[in-house]
């Protein structure tokens, strides 16, 4: 039973993707298959987290092909990867749901669902695998699938953005491979638990230090942190709406996951130096992203810049480094995925109501007034949540983060974080005025029907529930912090006594 809980979230979507590839002639059937696979994986990832929660001292471990731990490939679900897995699978399932009601040409091609489920597999595989090389393989699956999806986008510049990202992510892949090679040269193993043990016992050869740096840069590149950020707004803005929603909310969290794993499991002694760096990069990200979102004239691009700022908040939480601050970072990452995907789906749905189907403010000005009250309600709830207004879940995450900062005595950074939070409110209000308060000019032609708003409505409902009833998430997150604060649990679970 436990084995099934680990395998289904990864291989469920993979099987669904293969089946829907075979059903390429029947696009509607493909959608049904994808939905079923997504829901199965979602339920399995929830149950995996639940069974971990019942017994936090024993993470679930599955050895592929029954090869014992340091030699074979292992899949590990501890509370941390379980929580991030639930975040990814929820947003991906909502993405499939949105794609079913989407009228984009790209979304209704037979290639869409298999590639979308490949992103699902890649995400969950990266989170669950306990082996550096397997992380690389799943990461590449995810990257190539998302590049292909942006390449077939309806947006005219999709191909250019895809080429741009292919080169940048190729650089990240090179870094990752170099890091893997150096790790293997130093310790003769690629298993995360085994590397952690070797680092503790054998100290740090020069090659292992270099591997740590190179892996860190690869993960920073994947989550578009400050010096490596320039590709992110272009690549995300040109993607089809459901893909944009998952790229900006959960795919960037893969880097966050890798950074937390590196600092808590592998390089625990060097964590202090890495955290100082992350604190500075996070603050730069908050202001760069916030100001970028304020000056842009495109709704989707605004949200892509906003992701850049929100990742900054998470990095600041990791940078403070105390358990309470880490709790803040994990809660922030979890809540942000829900808010941001809901807002992006809403923005895509609003622009899908016009004939031009663009998200520039001049093209969607006043459209919000014409398409019913539901869009407005979603925008208000999601926007206020992103800005951190109580009682929504964005407030809970900001509160947890600032509490962590006060606990860590990082006063100047707390001040900057609170100040950066005001920027969020500013750019969300500016967009609200453009879409919902101005009158629609005559040159914008409306269509009969836009995309279905069910998926963003469900995600925003989840935001409200997570805000009003935040105790379970905070409990799980604090148990997670306790567990990753003690790497022995992970190492013993994988390698045995």
């Amino acid at each position: 039973m436990d084995n099934l809980l680990i395998l289904l979230p990864i291989f469920g979507p993979l099987a669904g993707g293969i089946i829907s590839l075979l059903l390429a002639r029947f696009v509607r059937v493909q959608g049904a298959v994808a939905m079923i696979a997504a829901i199965i994986a979602w339920v399995a990832s929830l149950l995996a987290l639940w069974s971990n929660w019942l017994d936090p001292s024993a993470p679930l471990v599955y050895e592929l092909g029954a090869w014992a731990a340091p030699f074979g490939i292992v899949l590990v679900v501890d509370l941390f990867s379980g929580l991030f897995g639930v975040m990814c699978s929820t947003v991906m399932t909502a993405g499939v749901l949105y794609a079913l009601g989407c009228h984009d040409k790209a979304v209704n091609t037979p290639a869409f669902m298999p590639l979308f489920l490949a992103i699902y597999t890649g995400l969950l595989g990266t989170m669950y695998s306990g082996d550096l090389f397997t992380i690389f393989v799943f990461l590449e699956l995810m990257v190539l699938a998302s590049i292909s999806l942006v390449g077939i986008s309806d947006h005219r510049l999709g191909v250019e953005a895809a080429i741009k990202y292919l080169f940048i992510s190729g650089l990240g892949t090179l870094f990752l491979l170099l890091g893997i090679g150096s790790m293997y040269a130093s310790f003769g193993t690629l298993n995360l638990a085994d590397i952690a043990q070797s680092l503790a016992v054998e100290g740090r050869p020069l090659l292992a230090q270099q591997a740590g740096l190179v892996l860190m840069s690869a993960f920073l590149l994947k989550s578009a942190v400050f010096p490596f950020h320039f590709w992110q707004p272009d690549f995300h803005t040109t993607a089809p709406t459901p893909v944009h929603a998952v790229l900006s909310s959960v795919v960037v969290k893969v880097g966050v996951y890798g950074i937390i794993r590196l600092t808590t499991l592998l390089f625990t002694e060097e964590a202090g130096a890495i955290q100082d760096l992350l604190l500075v990069l996070g603050i730069v990200g908050i202001f760069f992203g916030g100001l970028g979102a304020l000056r842009t004239y495109d709704g989707k691009r605004m949200l892509a810049y906003s992701t850049f700022g929100q990742i900054g908040f998470i990095l600041v939480g990791i940078g403070w480094g105390t358990p309470l601050a880490l709790l803040g970072a994990i809660v922030y990452a979890f809540n942000h995925a829900f808010i941001k995907s809901a807002m992006l789906m809403l923005m895509g749905a609003i622009s899908s109501n016009t004939v031009a189907k663009k998200a520039e403010y001049t093209e969607i000005e006043g459209v919000g007034k014409k398409i019913g009250a539901l869009a407005g309600v979603i925008y208000i709830l999601g926007g206020l949540s992103l800005a951190g207004v109580p009682p929504l879940n964005g407030f809970i995450s900001k509160l947890a983060l600032v509490q962590g900062g006060i606990d860590a005595q990082g006063w100047w950074a707390v001040g900057l974080v609170v100040g950066g939070g005001i920027l969020t409110l500013l750019y969300m209000m500016r967009t609200w005025q453009h879409i919902f308060q101005k009158d629609k000019p005559d040159h914008i032609k409306l269509k009969e029907q836009g995309d279905n708003l069910l998926a963003p409505a469900l995600l925003v409902a989840a935001c409200v529930v997570l805000g009003l009833y935040a105790t379970p998430l905070l409990d799980v997150a604090s148990a997670t912090v306790e567990q990753i604060g003690n790497p022995e649990i992970y190492i013993i679970a994988v390698l045995g006594g």
């Binding site: 393989v137 191909v159 190729g170 090679g181 293997y184 003769g188």
Partner: protein, 113 residues
């Protein structure tokens, strides 16, 4: 042997970076693949020369420690993945050369600003 591999890896890295920075997108794509080959050479140098006999050989009596088969498995996977990225890249260059009617990356600036 390791010195030779270090020189080879460095040389291929240099060629790859030079090609990636050129304006012609086909040459950029070739440079992209060269960079991956350089990393594969590095992976090969990591563990290929530790032993004296091939791994999984029938001649047990040959003596000596066997070579490490894992790096070669890693390279095999990495080659497949880099080949996949390369073909996706060529496909994208093909589409973009028709859509924007140029393969000069300086003229492809629709995403500026």
């Amino acid at each position: 042997m390791n010195v030779l591999f270090a020189i080879g890896t460095g040389l291929m890295f240099g060629i790859g970076v030079y090609q990636v920075l050129r304006r012609d997108q086909i040459k950029q794509a070739m440079g992209f693949y060269t960079l991956f080959t350089a990393v594969n050479l590095f992976l090969l140098a990591v563990g290929a020369f530790d032993g004296q006999v091939p791994a999984y050989t029938d001649q047990v009596e040959a003596g000596g420690s066997p070579a490490d088969p894992l790096v070669q498995a890693l390279i095999l996977t990495a080659v497949v993945i880099s080949f996949g990225s390369f073909s996706v890249l060529l496909g994208l260059v093909n589409v973009s050369s028709r859509r924007y009617e140029t393969i000069d990356s300086d003229e492809m600036d629709g995403l500026k600003g």
